[in-house]
């Protein structure tokens, strides 16, 4: 069938249609090309004005000292990852692993629940942690691999007072209780010398040792980030807490002069959501970032400070920086190693989920990493290890 009909003006219909189709196609492809070109030309910059946002003045402190109570959250990566792999991967609900302290009788991997796990120990916490942990040693999946993360943050206020924050409460009742006793945390808690417990997030290695804190001070004011699941909230109650519970919504929250927490609504492995970290503004030195795991990313934390907190310059870092916690690696972590130097941190104390490979790359890149003593279970001196301290104040 011929399609070469003519219109009244004598123009071949097919060629006119072809012309319009060709024009439309060319225009569409040209538009796409322009979009692509515009996207990566200097013209894009006008969409991102460098406007100064209102930055909150959180005040100042004279100095801050951090004592690493324990950074050893677990002892063998292979054992931990073997459990995670066996249970079905990194998204499986942490309360179902049958890990201590939520083990059922003869607990099998990935077949537990909070309700079944808390039942055998509910009457034992926080008063009889030894018996509660003995039960775990008999029944839980790899209880010997549990350690925990906790740090004591001591703030010297501008008035010369000392305020204390306990950051996290670890995992193993046994390991954490001994670590608390080693660093004198037990006495400070019992004497109410620690002003608050700040739980960075709901992960097992930061949170499940909670009864150890409440054993010594069940009334301590406890701060959690928004995002705890119902099991986590129930565990706070089941652990015997009788004090004030403060939940921080996403964003900045001043908790004392010169100190603020920031909650990031970030998804985290093992079905956890949300993490808070601390900003401490040290007079004459600059801003210090103190983190539990820093799942939001240390550069995100620094960028957030640049947008929302008034401070002179970055000064220090302490904590788990969550880069290669299982000594896994990804090229994007190298992006971090490259990019961190832009922020000019003057003193870095890293450990825990930072990853030993990362710490070594930091040292190789020339970062001012404060080395530790590699004792009390810490495996490397590129980490600020268990029992080590780091202080941030003006020279």
């Amino acid at each position: 069938m011929s399609t070469n009909k003519k219109t009244e003006t004598g123009t071949p219909l097919a060629s006119r249609r072809a012309f319009f189709r060709g024009t439309a196609a060319g225009a569409a492809i040209g538009l796409l090309g322009m979009m692509a070109g515009y996207s990566h030309s200097s013209l894009r910059d006008k969409h991102f004005p460098r406007a100064q946002t209102a930055r909150k003045d959180i005040g100042l402190v004279r100095g801050v000292k951090v004592t690493n109570i324990s950074e050893t959250s677990w002892f063998e990566n292979g054992t931990l990852m073997g459990d995670i792999r066996g249970a079905g991967g990194l998204l499986v609900n942490q309360y179902t692993y049958n890990w201590a302290p939520f083990s059922t009788k003869g607990g099998k991997l990935a077949s537990g629940s909070y309700e079944d796990g808390i039942r055998p120990i509910k009457s034992l916490i926080p008063g009889n942690l030894e018996k509660a942990w003995d039960y775990q040693m008999e029944n839980a999946v790899h209880p010997e691999n549990a350690g925990g993360f906790a740090a004591l943050v001591e703030i010297e206020t501008m008035e010369g007072e000392t305020k204390r924050i306990l950051l996290d409460s670890g995992w193993s009742y046994d390991w954490m209780d001994k670590a608390f006793q080693r660093e004198g945390i037990d006495r400070m808690l019992a004497n109410h010398e620690i002003d608050m417990l700040v739980l960075s997030h709901e992960h097992f290695d930061h949170f499940w040792g909670l009864p150890v804190t409440y054993k010594y001070d069940p009334t301590i004011e406890t701060h959690i980030p928004e995002g705890f699941y119902k099991e986590g909230l129930q565990y706070i109650a089941d652990s015997g807490h009788r004090g004030k519970l403060v939940t921080h919504a996403a964003g900045l929250h001043q908790i004392m002069p010169g100190v603020a927490s920031y909650t990031f609504p970030v998804p985290i492995i093992c079905r956890v959501y949300g993490e808070q970290s601390l900003y401490v503004n040290v007079a004459g030195a600059g801003l210090v970032s103190i983190t539990g795991c820093c799942h939001q990313g240390i550069i995100q934390f620094a960028e957030t400070a640049l947008k929302e907190v008034a401070f002179e310059k970055f000064h220090g870092l302490y904590g788990g920086l969550h880069i290669s916690p299982f000594d896994d690696w990804d090229p994007k972590y190298d992006d971090l190693v490259y990019a961190l130097k832009e922020y000019g941190f003057e003193k870095v104390g890293c450990n825990h989920c930072t990853g030993e490979v990362t710490a070594r790359k930091f040292v190789a890149a020339g970062y001012p990493v404060v080395r530790g003593s590699a004792r009390n279970g810490s495996k490397t001196d590129v980490y600020l290890g268990n029992g080590d301290t780091i202080e941030f104040r003006a020279a």
Binding site: A18, R21, G22, A24, A25, G26, A28, I29, L32, G33, M35, A36, G37, Y38, S39, H40, R44, H47, F48, N77, G78, M81, G82, I84, R85, G88, G89, L90, L91, V92, P265, V266, P267, I268, I269, Y273, H295, Q296, G297, I299, Q300, E303, H322, F326, D327, D328, W329, D330, P331, K332, D334, D335, L336, V337, Y338, A339, L340, E356, R360, K361
Partner: protein, 445 residues
């Protein structure tokens, strides 16, 4: 000289088959979408869901199988034209039987490729990172991450092949082997696209893999890679982005764009090359623009950070957004007869379909990020190393393809046997009769 009809296997089968809806619209569409969604959910629970039975969503292990299943479907249908299954079987066997048999074969083949070719052959005799057991021998690499890294390397091959394999059919029109019979044609296209995939793999992903190990394997891969400055990351996600865009654009051209605008070119080789490179050009436009769009929406990416602001995730998310677009485009073509079809103007048809599918993609995007962690057990939130919307989306696409390619849209539609099938069936019957009576000549086609 034989007078037997030439066996065409599945050549032209998808275009020539007549699918008749069993009920008035929109019942077949609703029924099929419910059946496909139910199959998706059941299989997701069995194989992938972190709360389910096999929990392959680690995520890379499950992602690897998902990707390779897609490739097997494409190879079996688009490259091999269903060979060695005969046309008469394709046209007369029950759709459920076809679905089970052909899917079973695709699974067997993917296991052969993953376990046999990559893990055993390449992983033991060429490059260690294809084999988890070899990787686990490295200091610090746990078994879990050995499996993950190995799966990542293998699945990247599939990602590249899922662009190049259908491209050779859609864009290059099987040339220059179009007139070859099966399996010669299929094997040739398989070899050429696999060869091209290998080159693209080494130029886009090998450096990424080399960076995974400490210290960098700088004598085996170019590190830092050449894209670092432009992409603002050393991660291979920069390439995953444009490769995913290519994969999706191939299917958009094939389905809702009816191969416009490239089909307007009448010279064969000009059209083929214009289509092949035009797909890449459109994909790169999407690749660059969607990254920019994220900067506009969330704020500029910051190198070295994690999650939503990380450049490597932004590139990956470009691919994720594109795959969300593919799902409604395929559903529109398979179950809604590529609506609208009655408009005379192809421009109007293409524009309307594009707009409809973009809206569909936006709806799926919203649904995924609000409900997937509850329904599918995936990670909550936009950006996370364990958040891979490509896995469930491609898993769903695989089920759609199985339903459309293998099962003739059963149960909403039924296949009306073609005259050729009737003749072939008759010929088979007569051939059987001939075996009993060797003196009788075979019927001529």
């Amino acid at each position: 000289m034989s007078t037997q009809p030439l066996e065409r296997y599945g050549e032209g089968y998808l275009e020539e088959r007549t699918l008749v809806p069993r009920w008035p619209a929109p019942l077949p569409q609703i029924v099929n979408l419910i059946v496909v969604t139910a199959l998706f959910y059941a299989t997701w629970w069995i194989f992938q869901d972190p709360r389910g039975l096999m929990r392959l969503y680690t995520p890379y292990v499950g992602y690897n199988y998902t990707r390779w299943l897609l490739i097997m479907l494409i190879w079996m249908v688009y490259i091999f034209n269903y060979w060695p299954f005969k046309r008469v079987w394709l046209e007369t066997a029950h759709p459920v039987l076809k679905g089970v048999v052909l899917t079973g074969i695709s699974v067997a083949l993917l296991l052969l490729v993953i376990k046999g070719f990559f893990e055993y052959l390449l992983g033991n005799f060429a490059i260690a990172y294809f084999n988890p057991d070899q990787l686990a021998k490295l200091d610090r690499v746990t078994e879990f991450f050995a499996e993950e890294y190995s799966a990542l390397a293998i699945l990247m091959f599939a990602a590249i092949a899922s662009w190049l394999s259908p491209s050779w059919v859609v864009a290059m029109e099987r040339a220059p082997w179009k007139n070859e019979g099966q399996p010669v044609q299929g094997l040739t296209i398989l070899l050429i696209t696999f060869f091209l995939s290998t080159i693209v793999y080494f130029m886009t992903m090998h450096s990424h893999m080399a960076i995974l190990y400490y210290p960098w394997q700088e004598f085996t891969g170019i590190t830092p890679p050449y894209w670092e400055t432009f992409a603002d990351t050393v991660s291979g996600n920069f390439h995953i982005s444009w490769i995913m865009c290519c994969t999706v654009v191939v299917w958009l051209v094939e389905t809702i764009w009816e191969r416009y605008p490239f089909k307007l070119i009448t010279h064969d080789w000009t059209r083929r090359l214009a289509t092949f490179f035009g797909i890449i050009a459109i994909a790169w436009a999407c690749h660059l623009f969607l990254y920019f769009a994220q900067d506009l929406w969330w704020g500029e990416a910051v190198r070295g950070t994690r999650r939503d602001f990380a450049p490597d995730w932004r590139w990956l998310h470009v691919g994720e957004m594109m795959i969300f677009w593919l799902l409604p485009a395929l559903a529109l073509t398979f179950y809604f007869n590529n609506w609208p079809t009655k408009l005379e103007s192809p421009i109007a048809r293409v524009v309307i379909r594009t707009l409809v599918t973009v809206v569909g993609a936006a709806v799926i995007y919203w649904l995924y990020y609000n409900f997937s962690h509850l329904v599918l057990g995936t990670q909550k939130g936009y950006s996370h190393p364990q958040q891979f919307p490509m896995i469930p989306t491609i898993w769903y696409i695989n089920i759609l393809l199985i339903n459309h390619w293998f099962m003739d849209n059963y149960p909403g539609w039924k296949l009306v046997p073609s005259k050729a099938a009737e003749r072939a069936a008759r010929a088979t019957a007569e051939a059987k009769a001939t075996t009993q009576d060797p003196g009788t000549p075979a019927p001529a086609e």
